[in-house]
């Protein structure tokens, strides 16, 4: 059985329907990435799954529990976490306090988890008492992931982890994502950087104009010419 099961999600902002029925599965210990041209509804899908915007139709299940109507903080308690694309750290809190907030739903701060995360992200260890606002983009991305991992989630949703990062940092972010996955957390990420993301993923979904277009293993999608085509033309059926 799949860890996350999203079925026929219809959602959008205001009156504008962005997703017209997207379905997706994430199994345990998997890395799944969602790619697709701009405006395909990738980030919207994640927000809909995490309860940040309402699902107009469809059904989301996590670990066998229906979470379609849950508030974000309730979803956090089910063992799923979310790393937003921008503004994903608390700038006026220290690194450590940011991590503590990640464990807000727990009664006590899991010190062991903190130390493990500092091992995983050494760059944070050095700065554990620094204000998060003073860190660079890549470091923030690390911190955001570490904060999400504080509760030792079964699934982490990551929205464009490589956005706005220099190429070497992008590499590192993907390495970290794989490392996180090896600790037993499934990953669902949205990526613009399709090639690199697919290379690091077990499976991939291609969205287009708010609908599922392809679903395959990462490598197969990489080979797929239609996917390349999708990025460089033929986006809208004009003719």
């Amino acid at each position: 059985m799949a860890l996350l099961e999203a079925r026929d999600i219809v959602s959008g902002y205001g009156d504008a329907e962005i997703l017209h029925g997207v379905s997706m599965d994430v199994h345990e210990d998997e890395i799944v990435c969602i790619i697709g041209p701009n405006g395909a509804g990738k980030s919207t899908f994640m927000k809909a799954v995490f309860g940040l915007i309402d699902c107009w139709e469809g059904r989301v299940e996590f670990d066998g529990e229906e979470i379609t109507e849950y508030r974000p903080d309730e979803i956090t308690r089910t063992g799923m976490c979310y790393v937003p694309q921008t503004d994903n750290v608390f700038p006026n809190l220290t690194v450590r306090e940011n991590l503590e907030m990640g464990a807000y739903i727990l009664d006590e701060v899991p010190e062991q988890q903190v130390e493990e995360l500092f091992d995983l992200f050494p760059v944070l260890d050095e700065r554990r008492n620094q204000r998060a606002g003073a860190m660079s983009g890549g470091q923030r991305q690390m911190l955001a992931m570490a904060r999400a991992l504080m509760v030792d989630p079964g699934l982490m949703l990551v929205d464009e982890p490589s956005a706005g990062l220099a190429p070497d940092l992008v590499d590192m972010v993907f390495e970290k994502i794989v490392e996180v996955n090896e600790t037993g957390t499934a990953i669902l990420m949205v990526e613009q950087n399709a090639r690199q993301a697919l290379r690091n993923s077990d499976r991939g979904y291609v969205l287009e104009m708010g609908d599922n277009r392809f679903e395959d293993s990462g490598d197969a999608l990489l080979e797929n010419e239609e996917v390349a085509e999708l990025y460089l033309g033929g986006g809208g059926d004009i003719e």
């Binding site: 220099a166 950087n193 004009i238």
Partner: protein, 319 residues
């Protein structure tokens, strides 16, 4: 002739580099496409060019003049503000002097002191706050007045107004925007208003949305909004039009209509700089295409060159 030149533009947001030394130019009478993957800095570039952001470094030149310079209030305008503030505070000074019961020379001195103080305060304030962003917020209107007009990615139609009113808002130099004209020269204002209305109706016909004339702009569909936004910007009589994703979320029929209009307009001599994700569209309409990646210009060329360039495909699919 080169209409727009961008040199070494750079902009960061809280440690994240959005635009990192982009340089390119737009020629008069052409359609230039600006493409690139998400996060490549297109929209930021767009906002920098249209004056809505201030660059950290680099220059944007419109018809050879630095846009930052274009956006700075003219000496006359500043003089008017400073002197009016001066007169205001001068009145306060006069009142103060007369209250303290001094003779006529005292009154004059009070006025002078007040006026100088007023001008000083106002000017000092301008100087002190000249570097902060929010004083610049009101300035981009000067670019629009100079003929460099922009649309917004998420359309900014005025939802409470009718479609016609939205268009009628745009033309430059309307007499009725001046209160004294409105009150004391009503016939002239009404006359001009009638001609503006005609102009707006013609525009609606050109865009083929004249059936929506009295509809509230908030009730329009996404595509119709895009058309309205285009029409509104055309009403300002621009030379260079910056379009931010003109067909995003527009259905194919309307997209085709929009493209036809754009081509007609190009033939009429308008120049365009278009940010667009729809490759089909951008390849069809552009004379030149600028590809951005990671905040820099990756390449510039004709649609054919761009489509066959390995680097571009790489940029889109990631390294």
């Amino acid at each position: 002739m080169t209409l727009l030149e961008v040199e070494n533009l750079r902009k960061t947001f809280g440690g994240i580099v959005a635009v990192d030394g982009a340089s390119f130019s737009v020629e008069e009478g052409t359609v230039t496409g600006l493409i690139g993957p998400n996060g490549a800095g297109k929209t930021t570039t767009f906002n920098l060019v249209s004056g809505f952001y201030e660059p950290d470094s680099g220059v944007v030149r419109y018809r050879g003049t630095d846009t930052q310079e274009l956006m700075t209030p003219s000496r006359d305008e500043r003089a008017i503000w400073v002197s009016s503030a001066g007169v205001g505070f001068g009145t306060v000074g006069l009142a103060g002097a007369s209250l303290s019961g001094v003779a006529t020379p005292g009154l004059l001195a009070g006025t002078a002191v007040g006026a100088v103080a007023g001008a000083g305060i106002y000017y000092g304030q301008e100087w002190l706050r000249g570097r902060s962003d929010d004083t610049r917020r009101t300035r981009p209107f000067r670019l629009s007045q100079a003929g460099l007009a922009r649309t917004f990615q998420i359309t900014r139609e005025l939802q409470g107004m009718s479609v016609l009113e939205n268009l009628m808002l745009a033309p430059k130099g309307q007499r009725g925007e001046n209160l004294t004209q409105t009150w004391f020269n009503r016939s002239a204002v009404l006359e001009q208003e009638a001609s503006v209305r005609e102009e707006a109706r013609d525009m609606l016909e050109f865009l083929e949305i004249d059936h929506l004339e009295t509809e509230e702009a908030g009730n329009l569909s996404g595509g119709q909004r895009k058309l309205l936004e285009l029409g509104r910007i055309l009403m300002t009589d621009p030379d260079l039009i910056l379009l931010d994703e003109p067909v995003a979320g527009v259905n194919p029929t309307l997209t085709r209509k929009l493209l036809e209009r754009l081509e007609e307009l190009r033939d009429q001599g308008y120049s365009f700089l278009i940010v667009e994700h729809d490759m089909e569209v951008i390849m069809n309409i552009s004379d030149t295409i600028i590809v951005m990646a990671e905040g820099q210009k990756l390449m510039q060329g004709t649609p054919e060159e761009v489509q066959s360039d390995e680097r571009v495909i790489d940029a889109y699919l990631g390294g």
